[in-house]
């Protein structure tokens, strides 16, 4: 479509609101034409890659353009930057704002880097206990989500663009109709809410409509954990303290990469295992798990078993440590001679040897019974209060999601639901359990309102679509996993006429059409005046007035003292009274009207037991996809192209099976199998994963999307690769009775790493703690380093700074946050599945993965190794470049001069680490205007035919150099953080000046477990690694096992 007409209209209408009122533009024919393309008759075009690309450009060129106009605009409300002097915005200097990116309702505290009003990069909030400066992959990728040209563009009613005003009046009339019957036909569906302000709005809505019901559903949330917590009354939610744990046992728990606390948990866990001059001890991790996870990969001992057998093992463990175990199925084998028996004996012994210093964790995807077991074991071991604390939930009105959704669907089926408001982009049509038939039931609803970032499968079936505002566009608050109230402040005005969930919700309150800022500020004004919160400043003193408090809260990005540990309450689902007139005593919360929370429905689904489902057949295990989760990130190219842990497959879901099972069924990687399970069928290409339980198949959610957007839509032949087609509400995470059949079809998978064996080259060096203690040389001996004197040439002297990096692969969990951070920082393009399959991915830092150990599934070891450019001092790449496009800087950086590069690719051929990346085609998207403001202005955007690679974030070094020069001092250690280093949750990456003996990196390189990869080539890499140290239990260490295959 021709976007210029819109542009002109935009230009014609002036003032800061024109981008808000896209609806008013809707009367241009081009715009209608564009709009219609969003509807299904164009679906065919979406699925053909070429067409999709064209279409992507088209639509972005049109709609995003409206956004671009907005990009340079700051929101009108006051927001407070993180730096001390907020007002002076120096051109070219980024500002940082503290904010939060909610994930399943829980806040991930962040600092957002903003260049002249464009948010360009997200970092963790170093002052926030839930982050300490790190983030996970999803939070990193949120920046692309903000600028995604496929986001829902405008409020629509049955496909017609409508202004906000019309929507408002529609809701008001719906509300007034419902008023008559106390809101009997009014239902709300949202994910879990931890936002105090939104909870209050919800409370007031429920108070206004006593018969209305609020249902919660998050397809990936753990009903098991929630049920166990609810059973414990108010205080059932565990918070773990790995910094105190010496022995950790996981029961199918992936605490390192899944769950809201994973970032902080990674940090503590890594600290507890890092061997330094000071620390000679490390904790020990036992992983009892079904589907291999990154946590299992870090474990000193990993025992693979079916997901349904975990409970039995837990029960046996409980018995062994003398913890009261609720009745239930007993373990598979009870005699101590068996493998299980041996493990139970060894682990329980280890646990009891560390009473109060040990920790047992139940997995989110395990039923309530397992969580109860874990809790009773922890109690028996006296861990409660030290390594784990149980407290109130951060969710407002926690409830059984599966039951809550089932209840809603039942009501919809019975025609009781007249108005259904779905908040926060849940997309239940795609993700609801298949037996509920949500899509069919949705048709029976008179008025359905869908609020989300995308026009997705559910939106297509709803009457009203209201675009959500991205967290970076909206005001709000949410609690982090530790309970700290974290403030979300907008970095940029909504690009696409977006409205936050709370803004939509207010249309049902007495004061409709309040902006997020007003709602938030009003809430906290009253909370400040009096409420369940204890609001204190950093020094523990109360603030002198609200403004001081509020300014501080916005500056820090969170409200101190609200963590559960600091006595923060459960998120109240109640209405606080208005601020009293000055002088009058502040009423307490108790007097506030507390509306009824949705009661747990009578016909709640039976708590899932280990024996769930039909007997016989294989066990089917469901897992969220490691990169696109439940499909909510399907349209995020960064996450799609991020290699999935352990398999390194990109862009596709795979069904994991044990190589043994694959052999029996004659399956190869990429063979499409048909999965038949409880009358439902789905298809998926398989992938063989050592250490996977023999009789189980793991499928991952998030694929087979049809209305995800141009990036996330599944091609025709992959639409059936959808795990939700198999999921039933009674067995959300695993169940027996799976039949698999080879279809004979093969599906091409694009993996960034094909070969997962080290071939005796020991790029990853490993030793056990004892071996290392006995003889630290054991690391050095695993490779060969030529003597420095072995060269014709004189040593090159590096005066001043001498940059170098040390990567502790002992700490690295393989979470790949570094890769995404690097992509975001360095404007790295995505290349698409076909190009990845050809071996042309562009990631500057990749995370290599190797399997080691023996065939036995219980001794499989997995190692991860982040590989950026080694910045070799004798760089083979430089020698062969005919045009001197890659040379050495005076500080030892292996610089890449894009402008000079002619693209012979000789440097890449000659790079023994293969860390160089080449723009074989025009990968960088020059057309999508909405992506312009996303790019980091300090990093040049590379074009076709040019080689590129890791530069140690040279732009950050130079920024620091400028600051240092202005203050006439040297760059301080730790002043320059590379993007990968800054994001790393386990602090595995350390960068600094090697000429400074006191710098952290120099100290690390002095350690005896420091080594360089392929040093035998005399490349003298500046990036070196700290070897992996394992801490196995001698009782379980098989005698015939080398630490790693050399």
């Amino acid at each position: 479509m021709n976007s210029t007409s819109i542009k002109s209209r935009l230009a014609g209408s002036h003032g800061r609101v024109y981008w808000r009122s896209l609806g008013e533009l809707a009367d241009t024919p081009e715009f209608r034409e564009y709009l219609h393309r969003e509807f299904p008759e164009q679906a065919s075009e979406w699925n053909d890659p070429k067409g999709r690309r064209q279409f992507l450009k088209l639509m972005s060129a049109s709609l995003a353009l409206a956004g671009v106009g907005a990009c340079t605009k700051q929101p009108t409300e006051e927001i407070v930057p993180y730096v001390r002097q907020p007002e002076d915005l120096v051109p070219g200097r980024p500002l940082f704002f503290a904010s939060a990116i909610p994930f399943s309702g829980v806040a991930h505290p962040v600092l957002v880097e903003s260049h002249m009003g464009h948010p360009t990069k997200i970092e963790g909030n170093p002052e926030h206990q839930a982050s300490l400066g790190a983030t996970d992959t999803f939070t990193q990728a949120a920046i692309l989500g903000l600028y995604d040209p496929d986001r829902a563009g405008a409020i629509t009613n049955r496909g017609e663009i409508k202004p906000w005003g019309l929507f408002l009046s529609a809701m008001l009339s719906a509300g007034s109709q419902q008023k008559g019957r106390q809101g009997g036909g009014l239902r709300f569906l949202s994910g879990p809410i931890t936002s105090p302000s939104m909870a209050e709005v919800m409370a007031s809505v429920l108070a206004a409509f006593p018969q209305a019901k609020w249902h919660q559903y998050d397809p990936m949330s753990s009903d098991g954990a929630r049920a166990a917590a609810l059973a414990e009354g108010a205080v059932g939610d565990p918070i773990y303290h790995f910094d105190k744990a010496d022995v950790v046992v996981t029961l199918d728990a992936d605490f390192l990469t899944c769950g809201p606390g994973s970032v902080r948990y990674q940090k503590d866990f890594a600290t507890q295992r890092r061997i330094t001059e000071e620390r000679k001890e490390m904790s020990r991790l036992y992983a009892i798990e079904s589907t291999p996870t990154l946590t299992g990969a870090k474990a000193d001992h990993r025992l693979a078993m079916k997901a349904s057998e975990i409970e039995g093992f837990g029960r046996q463990l409980a018995g062994a440590v003398g913890a009261p175990a609720p009745a239930g199925p007993s373990a598979r084998a009870t005699d101590p001679a068996s493998v299980i028996g041996k493990w139970v004996a060894a682990i329980s012994k280890d646990l009891q040897a560390h009473r109060g210093r040990s920790l047992v964790i139940a997995g989110d995807y395990q039923p309530a019974s397992v969580h109860t077991l874990a809790r009773s074991i922890n109690q028996a071991l006296g861990n409660v209060g030290s390594t784990v604390t149980y407290g109130p939930s951060v969710e407002a009105g926690p409830t059984d999601h599966a039951a809550s959704l089932a209840d809603l669907v039942r009501a919809m089926d019975a025609g009781q639901v007249e108005v259904l408001v779905m908040l926060g982009g849940l997309n239940p049509v795609y993700s609801a359990p298949v037996d509920l038939k949500f899509a069919d039931k949705l048709k029976k609803v008179n008025l359905s309102v869908y609020h989300g970032l995308y026009v997705d499968e559910t939106a297509f079936l709803c009457h009203w679509n209201v675009p959500d505002a991205h967290p970076l566009e909206s005001w709000g608050d949410a609690r982090s996993f530790d309970g700290t109230v974290t403030i979300t402040q907008p970095l940029i005005a909504p690009l696409y006429d977006g409205h936050s969930a709370v803004e939509v919700l207010t249309t049902f309150t007495s004061q409709p059409d309040r902006r997020g800022n007003a709602i938030l500020k009003d809430h906290w004004t009253r909370a400040f005046a009096g409420g369940p919160w204890t609001i204190r400043s950093a020094d523990g003193q109360p603030f002198k007035n609200f403004d001081a408090f509020w300014r501080r809260a916005l500056h820090d990005g969170f409200i101190r003292g609200t963590a559960i540990a600091d006595g923060g309450p459960a998120t109240p689902l109640s209405v606080m009274p208005a601020v009293p007139a000055a002088g009058a005593p502040a009423p307490t919360t108790q007097q506030a009207a507390t509306p009824p929370v949705t009661p747990p429905p009578a016909t709640t689904t039976p708590p899932q037991s280990a024996a769930a489902g039909a007997q016989g057949g294989l066990e089917l295990i469901f897992r969220p996809d490691p990169t696109v989760w439940d499909g909510r990130f399907s349209n995020n190219g960064w996450l799609q192209e991020l290699p999935k842990p352990l398999t390194k497959v990109t862009w596709d879901a795979t069904a994991w099976v044990n190589p043994q099972l694959a052999r029996e069924r004659g399956l190869e990687d990429g063979d499409v199998i048909e999965l038949r399970y409880r009358g439902n069928t789905a298809r998926m290409p398989i992938f063989r994963v050592p250490g996977h339980p023999q009789q189980s198949v793991t499928v991952f959610f998030g694929y087979g999307r049809q209305k995800a957007g141009n990036v996330g839509n599944a091609p025709k032949n992959a639409e059936a690769f959808n795990a939700f087609l198999l999921r039933t509400s009674d067995a959300p995470w695993f169940g027996n009775g799976l039949e698999i059949a080879k279809t004979g079809e093969r599906y091409p998978l694009a993996a960034t790493q094909e070969h997962h064996v080290m071939e005796g080259r020991a790029p990853v060096r490993v030793a056990t703690l004892e071996e290392y203690r006995k003889d630290p040389k054991i690391i050095e001996e695993q490779g060969e380093t030529p003597p420095r004197t072995l060269t014709m040439y004189p040593e090159y002297k590096y005066e001043g700074y001498k940059w170098g990096m040390a990567i502790d692969i002992g700490s690295c969990t393989g979470c790949s946050a570094c890769t995404i951070a690097c992509v975001a920082e360095n404007n790295i393009p995505i290349v698409g599945k076909e190009e990845v399959a050809m071996g042309r991915e562009m990631h500057w830092i990749r995370v290599d993965h190797y399997f080691a150990g023996t065939e036995d599934d219980n001794t499989v070891e997995a190692y991860h190794q982040p590989v950026p450019c080694m910045q070799c001092e004798n760089a083979p790449c430089e020698l062969v470049c005919p045009v001197a496009a890659t040379t050495h800087s005076s500080e030892g950086l292996n610089d890449m001069v894009y402008n000079r590069c002619v693209g012979t690719r000789y440097c890449s051929n000659n790079c023994p680490y293969k860390v160089r990346r080449f723009n074989f085609l025009l990968y960088q998207d020059w057309d999508t205007q909405s992506l312009y403001p996303m790019r980091n202005p300090d990093v040049s955007v590379r074009s076709r035919g040019v080689m590129e690679k890791c530069t140690y974030c040279v732009q950050r070094i130079n920024q620091a150099r400028i600051d240092a020069k202005r203050e006439d001092r040297a760059i301080r250690d730790g002043e320059v953080l590379t993007a990968c280093q800054q994001v790393c949750p386990s602090d595995a990456i350390v960068f600094g000046n090697l000429n400074d003996p006191n710098s952290q990196v120099s100290k690390l390189k002095l350690q005896e477990r420091n080594y360089g990869v392929l040093e035998t080539l005399n490349t003298r890499p500046r990036t070196t690694y700290l070897a992996v140290l394992r801490n196995p239990n001698p009782e379980l260490e098989p005698a015939s096992r080398s630490t790693t295959e050399h």
Binding site: E754, R761, H849, V880, P882, A884, C901, V902, P912
Partner: protein, 458 residues
């Protein structure tokens, strides 16, 4: 420069020829005789190939290197394979002219002219690839040359690619000079025989007014001899430099001291194979049996056999060094070539380059044009496979298993390759139409009447 071999070898020219007949028959092809249809067919085939090349390169410039199968880790694919292959072929011409001249091998006179032409055309095809294989050819075209510029940037003279630029361009220039110098007296002949004025004028200009004066001949022969002396080390250096492209690299399978000699041997091997591939059909097509005698064919067969054995020695020692070095990377490289995913290429290579040429031990095969053509075809293929082995199988599995990859050509790779063959064929057919494909004046010296009775000059 006429050799008087101690034994009486079969003559390099059939008896009964006079200056007149020699001139007639060779110059006639250019000036008078109408051309067989097969010539038009050959030209057409070559033209079509060239058009395909044009299309492939155009698309390459529009879309980028990504239309080929190259990737990380295999950054070089068909382009460099073809480059080395063509350069290798381009060696026989100058070699025959230069080295055989120095060695006073008079049988060279019948083949050196079109062998040199073959060299030129092969080098043209070869020279195309280093340029188009780059990501930004429009810059590579001149950024690799040392020219003063506002940024004060110069090429990086430690890079073998720069050495390539100098070696290949020097080789092309010197071969061209050598070829032209050899042509001048024949151009004079054509000038004097041409009937139509324009043609006469054209050859007149090209022959620079050559009139065959004794003083000119004396300087001419000295210069020609010196050129030969210069070309000989040049020929050897060019493929040595090409082999540096690999040996300077540190990739297992590249980083090897044996490359220069065995690349040169391989080049001569490939070159003679291609000369035979061209000579055998030409001989039949234009009835040149009198000038391209069996002795020529047999000698070329012998040279192929010898160089083939040297190449075989290279293969054996590559494997031996790998084993002897006890370097796991080298050892794996050899193992991977023989039994890795690309194993068929390796064994096909052994068949073509080592097994088939052994037939040449037999005189009856050396003297059968059909068999020689058949074997030379195998060698042409074999030498291409050798370059495939060196470029692809070395790169696809180097040091870190995590970055091992796989390479397969796309249709554009293949079109480009066959396109250059088309270009080569077209140029060659044009050449045999417009220039004497055998050196007439040198053939005259082979005529018995050329001998001065009682003359004592050598």
């Amino acid at each position: 420069m006429k050799a008087e071999p101690v034994y009486a070898p079969p003559p390099v020219i059939e008896p009964g020829h006079t200056f007149q007949t020699v001139t007639e028959q060779i110059a006639g092809i250019v000036l008078t005789r109408r051309h067989p249809y097969s010539w038009f067919f050959g030209l057409f085939v070559g033209f079509m190939g060239s058009m395909m090349l044009l299309m492939a390169v155009t698309w390459l410039l529009i879309k980028g290197t990504g239309i080929w199968g190259v990737n990380i880790p295999i950054g070089w694919g068909f382009a460099i394979i073809n480059f080395v292959w063509w350069i290798g072929i381009g060696h026989a011409g100058t070699l025959i002219s230069a080295i055989l001249l120095l060695l006073k091998q008079d049988w060279r006179t019948s083949i050196n002219r079109f062998a040199e032409a073959m060299t030129l055309f092969a080098v043209v095809c070869a020279g195309l690839f280093p340029l188009i294989h780059t990501g930004r050819p429009w810059l590579a075209a001149y950024w690799l040359l040392p020219y003063p510029n506002t940024m004060g940037i110069w090429p990086q003279f430690r890079s073998p690619l720069i050495w390539d630029v100098f070696a290949v361009s020097t080789y092309l220039t010197v071969s061209l000079l050598f070829w032209y110098v050899g042509l001048v007296p024949d151009l004079a002949t054509l000038r004097d025989r041409a009937k139509s004025l324009p043609i006469r004028r054209l050859f007149g200009v090209l022959s620079l007014g050559w009139r065959g004066a004794a003083r000119h001949w004396e300087r001419y022969e000295e210069a020609y001899l010196l050129l030969a002396g210069l070309s000989t080390p040049l020929v050897l250096s060019v493929h040595t430099v090409v082999s540096f492209d690999f040996t300077i690299g540190i990739i297992p399978g590249w980083h090897s001291t044996i490359f220069p000699p065995y690349f040169v041997a391989g080049a001569i091997y490939a070159g003679f194979a291609m000369v035979l591939t061209l000579a055998v059909p030409l001989r039949a097509l234009y009835h040149l049996e009198d000038f391209l005698t069996m002795r020529h064919l047999e000698n070329m067969g012998k040279v192929m056999l010898v160089t083939g054995l040297i190449v075989g020695y290279g293969y054996v020692f590559e494997a031996f060094f790998a084993w002897y070095s006890s370097n796991i990377y080298e050892q794996y490289m050899v193992y991977n070539r023989m039994f890795g995913p690309y194993w068929p290429f390796y064994w096909a290579l052994i068949l073509c380059n080592i097994v088939m040429p052994q037939l040449l031990w037999k005189k009856s095969i050396r003297t059968s044009p059909a068999m020689l053509f058949f074997i030379s075809m195998f060698v042409n293929v074999g030498m291409w496979l050798e370059r495939f082995e060196i470029v692809v199988t070395s790169l696809h599995r180097d040091f870190l298993p995590s970055s091992w990859g796989w390479y397969w050509p796309t249709r554009w790779d293949i079109m480009t390759f066959f396109g250059t063959i088309g270009l080569f064929v077209m140029l060659f057919f044009l050449f045999i139409r417009v220039l004497p494909m055998i050196s007439i004046f040198e053939m005259r010296t082979m005529v018995p009447a050329a001998k001065v009775k009682g003359g004592k000059a050598h």
